[in-house]
């Protein structure tokens, strides 16, 4: 019993896994999986965590200091798409439509979750913009309340970097994450981005 409940408690720590599902997963591991499968599974967890590195430039997942995208000479260094986390990056990469580079913030501003600007990689983004190669930064945070707040915040903080700032147009309906959008929606959102300064002058 102890073995089963202990394992279930570990699954229960994962997002979206409630106690019932955790127990089902634990039961599956102990009674249905072969020892070999369990070893592969456990190794993927420990190796994954041990070898995980983030890119020193864009903070995406990397094997060494730099990620595959930052190392790729065919990716345009002049355009940076700012996303909240790696899942949003993967959703955009899946479309194959974006040829620029990324900046992974590490979250979205949220006073409710006690995520302030100091928790996000905003200073690092400013440094990249100031280095001079970047023409355009696209604010690719999702159109939720937190995503909008973060975009407004960034617009203000990046204004003096001398770079064109645009915002993806995902419009309403809101509440979704880029992760759940289909390829067409993501592509359209990037292609239909709007110049934030132009929008401000009108407003």
């Amino acid at each position: 019993m102890k073995l089963l409940t202990h394992l279930a408690e570990q699954f229960n720590k994962l997002p979206g896994v409630g106690p019932k599902t955790a127990l089902r997963l634990a039961h599956h591991v102990l009674f249905s999986m072969t020892p070999e499968d369990v070893n592969v599974f456990a190794a993927a967890l420990t190796d994954g965590k041990r070898r995980l590195q983030t890119c020193r430039t864009c903070f995406s997942i990397a094997d060494g200091d730099d990620c595959a995208i930052c190392k790729n000479p065919n990716r345009d260094t002049g355009v940076i798409l700012v996303v909240a986390d790696i899942r949003d990056l993967l959703a955009v990469e899946e479309t194959g439509m974006f040829k620029g580079r990324y900046h992974v913030l590490g979250g979205l501003l949220s006073p409710m979750q006690r995520i302030g600007p100091d928790k996000l990689r905003i200073g690092e983004l400013r440094e990249r913009l100031k280095a001079g190669q970047v023409r355009e930064v696209i604010l690719g945070t999702v159109p939720t309340a937190e995503g909008e707040v973060t975009a407004h915040y960034l617009m203000d903080k990046l204004r003096d970097c001398g770079v064109k700032i645009t915002r993806i147009s995902a419009g309403i309906p809101v509440g979704g994450s880029l992760e759940y959008m289909d390829a067409m929606t993501v592509t359209r959102a990037i292609l239909n981005r709007q110049d934030m300064r132009a929008g401000q002058e009108q407003g």
Binding site: S110, P111, P117, E148, V149, T150, Y153, P173, V174, G175
Partner: protein, 350 residues
């Protein structure tokens, strides 16, 4: 759109029950007080709006004698996606359309519902939330993007309130970003509400006349309450010291209201009980006409006739008897003959 069959399991006073409705026209639900007539209307409302009319906790809907904290309700459509299902899962309700799980926001307005109940008759003099809810309910059923924007706005207000309540002084950049987000969605919401109010004002006189109240049509005006003066973003910035003191956001659509004027006086102070009902009823008729432009709403009438006198009974009878969509009407009174003549199906509860 309509529902032809309703199954309840462990819901309110029903351990298990099934009811059938006429596909269009009038289904009469009879029975003494406490027999569960309103529960039937409440269930349809829940399946179409993702909440109950009085916003009760979902867990309180479970049948009292039940040993499990679970209920399930299911309504069958004559066509389209088949059935709508709602069941309790923990403290939340899960919704299905056909075989698919759907979000609450995907449910709303498909089909639209309109509830005629005693609660709804307090719209003129009741608390501001009642009037905001009327506007939001209608606009949300008409336009999914209004609902989406309202949800995002509500969430942004919660975020701003969390910032206001922090022990540390709010970070100026975050505060400005929050105010800009609130102002962007908030001004869209306010302008949609203003447009709605203009339409309602234009429809009101004729509707009141059709209810036999030409004198009210002359007197009553509806206007937005001036909750925001000047430009919205500036109003938010101006309110900062007071908001920080209060620990919540004091200006914006979530504090918005509608004013009913009786010539130069607030109508809440001048109109009689009977006149209040006529006004509420007129607003309901306008609501049903508006939503019919999207999809014919289901009318849920909870003991409506006990609220009405002679002239109004005739007007409402004529409206309901001629209504092209589905009407579910509960009553414990004797009903007017012309209405009884229009009844397609009668359910009697014990």
């Amino acid at each position: 759109m309509s529902f032809v069959r309703l199954s309840l399991e462990n819901f309110r006073r029903f351990p298990k029950a099934q009811f059938s409705f006429a596909e269009t026209g009038l289904t009469l639900i009879l029975g003494p007080n406490g027999a569960g007539k309103s529960t039937i209307l409440e269930t349809i409302y829940l399946l179409c709006m993702g909440r109950t009319p009085r916003d009760v906790r979902f867990s309180s809907l479970v049948h009292r004698g039940s040993t499990t904290a679970y209920f399930r309700v299911e309504a069958e459509r004559p066509s389209g996606p088949g059935r709508s299902v709602a069941y309790l899962n923990g403290s939340a309700v899960v919704y299905h359309e056909g075989d698919q799980t759907v979000r609450r926001s995907d449910l709303i307005g498909k089909p639209p519902v309109i509830l005629f109940s005693a609660d709804e008759m307090r719209i003129v003099a009741g608390e501001p939330a009642l009037r905001r809810r009327m506007t939001d309910r209608i606009l949300s059923q008409e336009r999914p993007e209004y609902l989406a924007r309202l949800k995002r706005y509500t969430r942004a207000v919660e975020e701003r309130n969390a910032l206001l309540r922090d022990d540390m002084p709010p970070d100026p950049g975050s505060w400005m970003a929050l105010d800009e987000t609130l102002a962007a969605d908030g001004s869209e919401i306010l302008s949609a509400r203003r447009g709605f109010l203009r339409d309602v004002s234009a429809d009101l006189p004729d509707t009141l006349k059709s209810l036999g109240s030409p004198h009210l049509a002359e007197r009553i005006r509806i206007e937005p309450a001036e909750t925001i003066r000047g430009e919205y973003l500036n109003a938010l910035i101006d309110a900062r010291p007071q908001d920080r003191g209060a620990g919540h956001t004091t200006v914006g659509p979530h504090r918005d209201d509608i004013r009913f004027w009786d010539q130069t006086l607030p109508a809440a102070e001048t109109v009689s009980q009977g006149e209040t009902r006529i006004l509420s009823l007129a607003l309901k008729l306008i609501e049903s006409r508006r939503l019919a432009a999207v999809s014919q709403p289901i009318l849920l009438c909870d003991d409506l006739f006990s609220e009405l006198d002679g002239v109004r009974r005739d007007a409402v009878t004529a409206f309901l008897a001629a209504y092209p969509g589905q009407v579910l009407l509960t009553s414990c009174l004797a009903l007017p003959d012309p209405l009884l003549a229009a009844v397609r199906l009668t359910l009697t509860l014990e």
